[in-house]
Symmetry: C2
Subunit: 365 residues, 2 copies
């Protein structure tokens, strides 16, 4: 298997189980990527991430260009050495965060000028700039620079924005050097409109990328709408390349998206929920702040074999959460990421056995 190659080993309907070979090692798909915004998955050590089975992390270009700056990361050996994580790292392009976090942004054909949400310092992000920054960070998988529209959006605007993103995808590809053995992924846009999604994909296919992401979803639309778009949007991409649904999602989002042909995911839900005192269990989410857990000797999930469930009661975790103790965030983040990692492992095994469709129908978390 060549570097940066992807092979699908099993399919069940549109669902695929596969293997991605990156310059930093193999990734079994479908895969969930924990979010390490500022070059740290909040409240986790890299060793813990390895222990629970994480294969690849996501870091945010927007945050890292602002703090500490890509030159600092590069000087300190690149993202992997910087954050002590030897596996693959995917960086987003910064486009999404510029839209959601920055101040006083101004967008034109060239790119986006914005002020940092931290100290108001002025920055420019363009396709060329984003790729250069991601290469300076020494990311394993680099995302092309795109514009992400909110939901809902009128078709005319969605079309205009998709076409801009297509031109930016082209410029991203041109400026990508492939240094460090990195891969480059393109990002499909086009809102909730099938013809626009198709146009976007055709354009990306013509440019040619190592993988294809579906952007512009998980922006506030109901799950039904998202699945509606996924019903057709994966079909426009070549079967031999990985497909990545950005920013998704809840466990049921992931299961439904795998069913529709998605291979890669990232989301802050497991980590952020953990810091908010919420824990994932088979049939939903439990809130440890709830008074009913105060005297509860049971672990979060008696069938879970993570470090948290093996050693701590709901009563203790509830106490930690009420006291805002850091250990509460550490233990619940670990449990939630273990839950997600195990869900993906189960999904892969079910696809390999041909039992995934039946499982997905009854999945409701």
């Amino acid at each position: 298997m060549n570097l940066n190659d992807f092979s699908v080993s099993h399919t069940e309907g549109k669902a695929r189980a596969g293997l991605l070979k990156t310059s930093r090692g193999y990734v079994e798909t479908p895969v969930f990527m924990p979010v390490g915004t500022a070059a740290t998955v909040k409240a986790m050590t890299p060793e813990s991430l390895k222990t629970i089975g994480s294969q690849i992390l996501l870091c945010n270009t927007y945050h890292l260009m602002i703090r500490p700056g890509e030159k600092v990361v590069n000087h300190l050996g690149g993202l992997n050495k910087f954050m002590n994580w030897s596996g693959p790292i995917l960086t987003d392009s910064g486009g999404f965060q510029v839209m959601s976090l920055s101040k006083l942004r101004q967008l034109d054909e060239n790119g986006v000028t914005f002020r940092s949400h931290i100290d108001g310092k002025k920055f420019l992000l363009s396709p060329e700039g984003s790729i250069r920054i991601q290469e300076t960070l020494q990311s394993t998988i680099i995302m092309s620079f795109d514009e992400c529209m909110p939901f809902p959006v009128e078709k005319k605007l969605a079309e205009k924005s998709m076409k801009l993103s297509s031109r930016w995808a082209e410029r991203s590809k041109v400026s990508f050097t492939g240094a460090n053995g990195s891969m480059l992924f393109g990002i499909q846009q086009g809102g909730m409109f099938k013809d626009l999604r198709e146009q976007s994909a055709l354009c990306l296919n013509n440019i040619g990328f190592d993988g294809y992401a579906i952007g512009g979803l998980a922006v506030g639309e109901p799950q039904e709408k998202m699945f509606g778009v996924l019903n057709y949007s994966t079909d426009f991409f070549p079967k031999d390349r990985p497909r990545y649904l950005m920013g998704v999602g809840k466990p049921s989002d992931i299961v439904g998206a795998v069913l529709r042909g998605i291979d890669m995911f990232d989301c802050v839900i497991p980590t952020r929920s953990g810091r908010n005192g919420q824990a994932f269990v088979q049939d939903g989410i439990i809130n440890l702040k709830n008074a009913k857990h105060k005297f509860d000797e049971k672990p979060i999930d008696k069938n879970c074999s993570c470090y948290c469930c093996s050693n701590y009661s709901r009563g203790y975790l509830s106490h930690l959460v009420r006291c805002n103790e850091i250990l509460g965030s550490m233990l619940l983040t670990l449990h939630n990421l273990y839950f997600y990692t195990n869900l993906m492992k189960k999904i892969r095994e079910l696809i390999q056995r041909g039992d995934f469709t039946a499982f997905a129908k009854n999945f409701a978390t």
Copy 2:
């Protein structure tokens, strides 16, 4: 060696190296006890504490009686099971925190009535109540209930308070049942006055305790004053019992106190400093927030073999601290506790070899 026995194996001047046998295992002295206020050493797992060599922890009765309440801890199996720490745990009596943290407190012969700093709820702490709560928590080493005076304080007040603490020590002893194989320590008071310290100690010796603590120090007095009191106050206690200096301290405080015959210490400095971005090194403290560390590839201490120094640069740690990332608190707390644990190990070895006095003279951190 019997349960709750203490044996001094080596002495060098007043400095002692010894072994304390508790119901939860052995403790080599001199020892530093990390502070786990709310039944968690902030930002550390119990496994990490074991890995760096921590032998015994301190928890705060005041905090635990307020949240989650001693009955919750007892219901969930006692402090050890509650917090997943199998080694010994010392609990303070709550007296110090009532004075420093609570609101609207009222002190009389019986005890202290106060309102919680969390929700204003009314509580009463008396010698009998404090012992009952500590036994309900299933603490390994229980502290008698005392009044702690601020610095400076007039002799008349110091004397009156010391006499109250002596009567409370007697009541603490009477109400102590020794359930769970716990030990009970008495606390010397008497401010900066030699005759009062002597009277206090004589009174405690007559009552008879498993160990003796020196209270009323580390309350804002200069190091010189503290050492002045320690120069005589340890001499009033029996040689075959452990001596514990409460709330101390900086590394140089500890070294100077061991030189004066102290065996046990606790302090929030290593953990709190870690959460504030400060790291202990051989010749002092470095502040990771300082801009000069931004591009620094070096670890905090190239001679330190802790997990933090083995894997992370000052530049990365500086980044984490600036971003208020939880991992920054986790790594710096771990390093600082490792520094303290290693200092104590070195002190024990130096006493065993007879080289401690020379070391202490040149110690300045």
